[in-house]
Each structure stands twice: as structure tokens, then as C-alpha cells.
Symmetry: C2
Subunit: 544 residues, 2 copies
């Protein structure tokens, strides 16, 4: 390999008698060896493509001459906002030093041989193709995708194929990639209720998600502690329920910005308005919505879940969801439905009366089902599909056409739940093994990597109902100060599990150097990703 390098750089040997430069050159050749052997180009893309073949043939890239262009047969053409803006975004991601004035000089000094141009062309004229293709060969790269979203994934892969040698010269190896995601739903949850996340933290997370080929941002926007969503229909919800009515809210403009930032990166925004539990903050701006808890025969002054006995509750939810449905274009809304505590309902005479009237006896799961069915139907009238946490299934509510979201249980319980839910014919999203807010000393990413989402008893038909998985970053102990280093690269382990073939990515040992390398790439792109273990990146994070 070093011979190849010598040939390519035949005219560039720097001879000097200085000791320090000699050491430097020795280290350089060592680093090159690492690149060629420990981190071969064939493994350079995270998450691992379905098929990738590459050779050691490499082509230099000139940031001065490199252009992206739509191929002549492409159905997407200049003016396609998603691709146009991706071209603009990926240039500085690929040529990461180029825009830094101080390093420009380098190219003048070292770039002595003529460079080859590489054109990334995007064909969008193959609607029946199942597989997106990225091909890098002499002088040209070509990307064929059946959707703009596939084209975005291909651009990400291409950007990861490019590397710099020790002289700062950019290269890409001859490569063929056929790629598609294993799961359609590759989500990440942020919780903006337990702590408020300023907009830059959310946008930065979306950037990092796109580098990891995540495609769903599950925005757990409100919960007990605060209601930062600024509703135009009910402004009191945030003005009274947010941590602060002006500084700790998401205005309609903020929400639009998140949705548009996400869309341009091929990411859907799935809003969650969890009810009837987890709604303490809702009550502040919407008196009468929550159940008044009783101590004996008098109200205790505290409140429980949404009051399911009042028609006004459904009228409120209906109006709120009508707004939510129009603000968030995604065809799904997450309705929550988890951890409903019946204590307060049981204490309230009005609720007890309603139970009697409805013939529910003392089975409060029936009341919960009644509530959930109502708001699921209400969501359906808004032409949206519901996603709910597993509790709704566990309590035997009728939830047809709804997607179930698994969040709890031991590994064995999770497997059972996957079997049961899919046997009942429901689609399912898996989150339980990816509660990434839980931290532990050491390399816990391996746990997230080793998850086998389809390892449960069930038919092929059942397995096909597992539409994907989602990493959850709950906010009890997380805000913008520690979000990025806790997410990355730990969430990247789940990203590969959700995108890549399980057989070709079954080894933690093989993944380690690749993920170490990818983490350095994240750093280089400004993502505050923490280290996996002892070592270093060529460019360390200094943005302290």
C-alpha cells in the first residue's frame, strides 16, 4: 500500500534533515497504513450500506473543480428544493477545510498533479428500482435514486467516502454501493418538556440525525413539567404551562423552522401530545381539563389525568388536534396513552358516576380505552394515523389501524410483546432497548448495537409489521448542555441496526473502529460527539 502511495506522490517527497519532520513523516506513513488496513474504504460508510464494494484505486478531488449536477435523464431537476439545498449543504461537509481561509494555501503547495473531476449525478427516473445506487469510478460519481429522500441518503454516503490524506488532499476510492434501509421507521425522540431545548439544539440534532440516516424526529413536545408548544388556538397552554411564556416556548415560526429543516434532510417530524396522563402542564392553561382529585368528599387541590367524563375534554382535544394536524404535515400523530394512574379518577365522584353510567363497573382500563378510542377516532377524522405507546394495547383497547410503540419490559417481555402485537395484526415500533437517556459507565453503545429487533416468535407476516425502531432521549437529566455528547455516537449504534443488514453488521469488534472513525467525522462536522474509548481524532473538539 505504501508503494501505491509513493507512486501517487512520487513528485511530492519532502526531503529534510530536521528530526521533527522525520518523526512527522514516520507518523504519517503509519496513519496511512491504518487507513488502508484498519479502516479500509469498504467500511467507510456508517451506517453500513446493504452492498458496498470498493477498491484501493482512488481519485483525487479538487474542491475548486468539483461540482454536483443533476444527470441529464434525471426526473428531478434544478429547482428541486430538497436536492438543490443538499448540494449546497454537502459541499462544505465533503470539503471540510476548503472554506477555512488558513488552510486554502495547502492546495496550492501540494496539489501538483492534475485532478480528476467527480460529478455526482442524481437520476430520479427509476421509480421501479428497489435499490438506490451510488457508483464512483474514474472521474465521475453517479447516484441513482428512486426518490429525493433516497438521493439524500446517497449524498450522505458519498460524503462519507471522501477522505483527506496527510497532506490535506481529498480522495475518493472507486466504489459501488447498492443501498436501501432495513426499516422504514428510524426514529429519535427528544423530550422538550422536562427540559426546554433551545432551537439550535434541535436543529443540530436534526443535522446529526441525517448523517446517521435517521428519518423520523419524534417530538415529545409537551408533558407534565412544561408545555412549550405555543398553540394559536389555546395560547394559555404555553403562557401558563411553559417554564417561561416567552423564552421557553416554541412559537409557530420555531415549529415551522424545525419541520422545514427536517424535511430538507429527509426527516419527518412526528409530534406527540401525550394524554390522558402526562398532562399536568396542560391543566395550568386549560382549567377544567384535568380530573380534580378528591380526598374523601372534598377536592384535594391536586389534579390527575384529563377528565374522561366531560365532553368538554374531547371538544378541547378536538380543537387542539385540529391545529396540530395542520401545523405538522406528517400523516401520523403520536397520542401517547402511557402510564395512566387511576387513583385520581377513582377518587373523583363525577368520574365514578360516569363509570356507572357507561356500565364500566370498577374496571378503569375500560374508561381509559373509552378515552383513547375517542381520541383515536378523532385523529382519524383529521386524516391522520395514530401511534400510541404499548399500554394502550396492553389494556386491551380497540386500536385498529393504530401503530403500537413498545417502550418497556425485560428482553423476554419485549419479545413477547412483539409477538403479541404483531399477531393481533398491528404495526409496531420498537424503543424499549434504546432508552438512551439511561447511562452507564463504559461502552454501553454495544448494548444498543446488539439489539435484534426481529428476534421474536412470529411469522414472516408478523415480522413485516415491525416498521422500525426509535431511540428515546428522555429529558429528566438532559438539556442542551449534555444532549449532543449523550446522543452521539451512542445513537449511531441504533442507527446502523435500523438501516443495515443484520448479518453484515453483527460484530461489535468490527463496528468499533468504524464507529470510532465515524465519531471523528461527526466531530469534524461540528457535532459534539463523545469518545468511545481511549484515543484521539485528528481534529479534536475545541468549541468549549
Amino acid at each position: 500500500q505504501y508503494l501505491t502511495k509513493s507512486v501517487i506522490f512520487g513528485t511530492m517527497e519532502v526531503k529534510t534533515s530536521s528530526n521533527s519532520v522525520r518523526f512527522d513523516k514516520q507518523r504519517c506513513s503509519f496513519i496511512v497504513l491504518i487507513m488502508f488496513f484498519s479502516l479500509p474504504a469498504v467500511n467507510a460508510v456508517w451506517p453500513m450500506p446493504q452492498l458496498i464494494s470498493s477498491s484501493t484505486d482512488r481519485y483525487p478531488l479538487s474542491p475548486r473543480q468539483f461540482i454536483f449536477q443533476y444527470a441529464s435523464g434525471s426526473s428531478a431537476k434544478s429547482g428541486c428544493s430538497v436536492i438543490d439545498s443538499a448540494f449546497k449543504r454537502y459541499f462544505p461537509l465533503i470539503f471540510v477545510d476548503y472554506l477555512k481561509k488558513t488552510e486554502k494555501h495547502m492546495y496550492r503547495t501540494f496539489s501538483m498533479q492534475p485532478m480528476l473531476n467527480v460529478y455526482a449525478s442524481i437520476h430520479l427516473s427509476f421509480p421501479f428500482s428497489v435499490v438506490d445506487k451510488l457508483s464512483v469510478s474514474s472521474g465521475q460519481a453517479s447516484l441513482r435514486a428512486k426518490t429525493v429522500w433516497g438521493a439524500l441518503r446517497g449524498l450522505e454516503s458519498f460524503s462519507q467516502l471522501v477522505y483527506q490524506d496527510d497532506f490535506g488532499q481529498y480522495f475518493v476510492n472507486k466504489t459501488e454501493i447498492d443501498d436501501f434501509p432495513r426499516f422504514k421507521f428510524r426514529g429519535l425522540l427528544l423530550d422538550t418538556s422536562r427540559h426546554y431545548l433551545p432551537l439550535p439544539a434541535i436543529l443540530k440534532t436534526l443535522d446529526a440525525m441525517s448523517y446517521n440516516k435517521f428519518n423520523v424526529f419524534h417530538w415529545h413536545i409537551v408533558d407534565d413539567p412544561s408545555f412549550p408548544y405555543q398553540s394559536s388556538t389555546f395560547p394559555g397552554l404555553s403562557s401558563k404551562g411553559a417554564f417561561h411564556p416567552s423564552t421557553h416556548v416554541y412559537s409557530q415560526t420555531d415549529v415551522s423552522r424545525v419541520i422545514s429543516h427536517a424535511r430538507l434532510r429527509g426527516i419527518r417530524v412526528l409530534p406527540e401530545f401525550d394524554s390522558p396522563g402526562h398532562t399536568q402542564s396542560w391543566g395550568k392553561g386549560q382549567p377544567g381539563l384535568l380530573t380534580s382529585c378528591y380526598k374523601g368528599s372534598v377536592p384535594s387541590g391536586t389534579f390527575g389525568p384529563v377528565n374522561p367524563a366531560m365532553s368538554s375534554s374531547y371538544q378541547f382535544i378536538s380543537r387542539l388536534f385540529k391545529e396540530v394536524a395542520s401545523v405538522f404535515p406528517d400523516p401520523y400523530i403520536h397520542l401517547g396513552g402511557d402510564e395512566v394512574d387511576f387513583t385520581c379518577w377513582k377518587s373523583n365522584p363525577e368520574v365514578r358516576g360516569f363509570m356507572q353510567k357507561m356500565g364500566f363497573g370498577t374496571d378503569y382500563t375500560k374508561l381509559e380505552s373509552y378515552y383513547m378510542e375517542n381520541i383515536i377516532n378523532l385523529t382519524k377524522t383529521l386524516n391522520k394515523t395514530s401511534i400510541v405507546w404499548q399500554d394502550v394495547f396492553d389494556n386491551h383497547e380497540k386500536v385498529k389501524e393504530t401503530v403500537l410503540h413498545i417502550w418497556k419490559g425485560s428482553p423476554a417481555q419485549i419479545q413477547q410483546e412483539l409477538s403479541d402485537i404483531t399477531l393481533a395484526g398491528y404495526r409496531v415500533i420498537l424503543s424499549a432497548p434504546w432508552y438512551i437517556n439511561h447511562i452507564a459507565y463504559g461502552q454501553d453503545w454495544t448494548t444498543y448495537y446488539n439489539v435484534q429487533p426481529l428476534n421474536f416468535t412470529g411469522s414472516e407476516q408478523q415480522k413485516s409489521l415491525v416498521i422500525g425502531g426509535e431511540v428515546c432521549m428522555w429529558g429528566e437529566y438532559v438539556d442542551a448542555t449534555n444532549l449532543s455528547p449523550r446522543l452521539w455516537p451512542r445513537a449511531s449504534a441504533a442507527a446502523e441496526r435500523l438501516w443495515s443488514d443484520e448479518k453484515t453488521t453483527s460484530s461489535v469488534t468490527d463496528a468499533f473502529p468504524r464507529l470510532t472513525d465515524f465519531r471523528c467525522r461527526l466531530l469534524r462536522r461540528g457535532i459534539q460527539a463523545e469518545p468511545l474509548f481511549v484515543g484521539h481524532c485528528r481534529h479534536e473538539y475545541e468549541g468549549i
Copy 2:
């Protein structure tokens, strides 16, 4: 309390019919109540002063008129670099909004009543005073300290007494503080070998240390993975032993900058050059230093600890430490001495021959003792005192005048070790309960807070030998990306344990709101301190 506020702001009521402003005002008064009741001024200083009394009488501070000045009787006068630069540093820490152009306007709008000036005066003419005093009363604050370092601590306390009301107006309450640290040695260890920490990360940590009244930066500068210290005597150590010879090193200028930054903040820099183990990276630039390990009768190609059988080893250490002693002005050097694995020594025929010659039999702890005694004596000739890890005591080496550093064991073992070491008459530093690199889900700061350093069997004389404690942030999983949120405010819990009276700070419940408040103050000062639990700060971290 609200009445008081109404009187002070009697002329400032903002009347309006707008709903949103009405909500805003309600929240404001609520926040004021929190400040007066949940976070009373008496508890506003972290770590808790030895004695503090304060009243609800408060004085407005004008950033335009506020000045620091040396009191007329002060022995330190203008020209004292430590205090002069502290005056400059603390102004923007106290008036945190003042230098931001956008918020200047506020003072014009709301500052209607004349303000009182507060002068912080520093008396340095009381060499026999045991207690430093800070007194804030009508129109003037006065700080009496017997050393410049005490004056720095007093300035920190004063800066924490100042708060802003909801209109951005600065206030300080009438307060009397008598203060002194419980322990003389309040350290924090950073490990720059397992990951390189860029200089800004170290300087920022020193800033945060001073806010927490830590006074020793234990710089674990080199270890097995890398040797970033750029030695002028042995440049090969870093050029071959660092992760990168230019980008991942601490030049002499860098080291000076760290020492000077620390000194101005009242922080000593204690360098550690750990040997004979933990020296893999040393071997790269100093061939022949490490023991060559044998497989049978031939060298295996791997290396063990420093070779204690060669006089050249001691000559090398002597020359290296001569440099270290002159570069680092602190009277102490940490010599390490932990975790020496005897396997390689046992395999090496030369070392075995030396054992025989010295009459050590097969007891390799004697060889280890021989090595440590040699370098402790060598350190003594440089007029420095040695600190070593507890292993050196555990292996019964003669270590008179040396300070022992406890780093391991169960709580019971740690108590026993404290008893044993102090009974033998050695001074001791406690780190074992404060290995803050170990993380766990939830509020683990309480564990660090609940440590009782003097809770062991021993006489008063023995207890007085516990000179302090040290928080250790080992670098296996930590670099500049996650250093700050992992350190702060978790290390702050240890900071209070080391500074404050144990009786007045025995309750985690009482500490929680104070630490929550202090964490927000750290954020406001640009320290990326993570949250303790659900909630918010008025000014969130946005520097993502």
C-alpha cells in the same frame, strides 16, 4: 416579601390590559417568591460559607457606578496582579448582562431610583486573623482577607451574593460572612493522556474550579496511551509518544499559560509523572527505559514498567524531574506509583539478576519499593515533596514525608486505609469516593455529597493528617466533548464537602435547590454544566 418588593418598585408598576403581559406579571411575582423562600439569600453561596448571616434588606447595584477598590489600610495595593486581575474578571461575572449591548437599554428604562454604591475593599493587613470576612451593608461591602488567595475566595462569594430581579436590576442583600476552608487541599484531576484535552478545555475547567473554590489542579499529564508533555530536555518523549507531535502536545508555553491562569485564580498546578507503571508512551521516545518483557528466553517485543535494574533509568528520571521541578513551581510533585504489574519484571533475566544481587529474593514489592524510594529521594534533592498513590504505602515502602493519595477500595476499606495511613503518621488525600468519571443514571451527585472524609477510627491528630480530597476525572471515556457536563455540577458536590462545615451541609435535600441554583449560575458564566433534574434556568445554554 411581596410587599417589600412593591415598596421598592412602587413607581414601576406596568399597567396594561393585554392578556399576555398579565400572565407575565403573575409569573414574575411567582418567581420572586421562589427567590425569597426556596432560594433564600442566606444560602446563596456555593460552597456554603462557614458562617453567613443575611437579612432581606437589599441594596441595588449600578454596574455604571460600581467599583472595586483596595481599602486604605490594605497591605495589598494596586499593582498586586492577582487582585488586580480578579477585579477585572469579577466585574463581568457580577454584572453578567452589562457588557451585552442589547440589554444595556434596560437600565435606562427601569433604573429610576438612585442606586447605592458598593465598594469591595480588601484588607491584607491581618496576618494573624484566622477567618476571612465579607461584610455587605448599606452602600458598602468590605472584604478582609489575610492572604490574596483568601481575597479571591471572598470575591467569589461576593459575586454569588449578587442577583438580578425580574427587571434585570442587580441587588445584593445585607450579609455578613466569616469564612475559611475545611480542608487545605481541594483538588481536581484531569487526565490528558487517555484523551488529549485542548488548552481551552483546561482553562475553562480552571475557571469553573475557581467558582467552586477548588485550589489544586492535579494534572495527570502523561500515562500509557500518550505523552503530550513537550519536554525541552527530551523532545522525543512527545514527538514520538504523543497522539500527534504537533497538534496533541502541551508546549512549554501552553504549560506556562495553564500555570499562570490557575495562579490568578488561586489554584496550584500539581503535575503527575506516574512511574514505574503507566509509562508505555514514555518508551517510544526513550528506548531502553522500559523493561523488555521476555517470552521464555527471548524478548517478546512488548514492554513493561520502567526498568528498575538500570542506573540509566534513574539518570533519565533525574533529568526529567529536574526539568519538571523548574517548569512547575508547586512545591509538590505527584510520582504515581500505582498498579505496578510484576509479570514483565519477573520475565526479564536482567531484572531477575538485579533482584538476586540486591538480596530481594522473589519479593518484587521490594524492587518496587527500591524504585520508589530512589525517585522520592531524587525528588527531595529538587526541594519538592512527593505525593504518591496508596499502593506505595500498601506495599510497605518507606515513604517518610510523602503524602499518600487514596484511590481505591470499598467504603470500609477506605476507612481502614485512612486509619492505617494516618496512624503511620503520613498525610493523606482522599480521592476514592470521588472518581467522577464513573457515571450512573440519576442523581449521583448525592453520593459525592454524602462522603464523610473524617469518618474513620483515629485520634484528632490522625484526622488532622487528612489534608483534603480530590475529584478524579479519568479520561477513558472523556475528552473535550463531554468534560464540562460530566464535571459540573457533579464535582460541585465534592467542592462543598471539602470547603464547608459538615454539620451545616449534611442534608442533600437542603443542598438540592442551592446546587440547582448554582448550576444555573455556572451556565450563565459559560460553563456547560448539566441539569440535576427536571426544570429550567432563566438563561439556558445555547452554545451548541
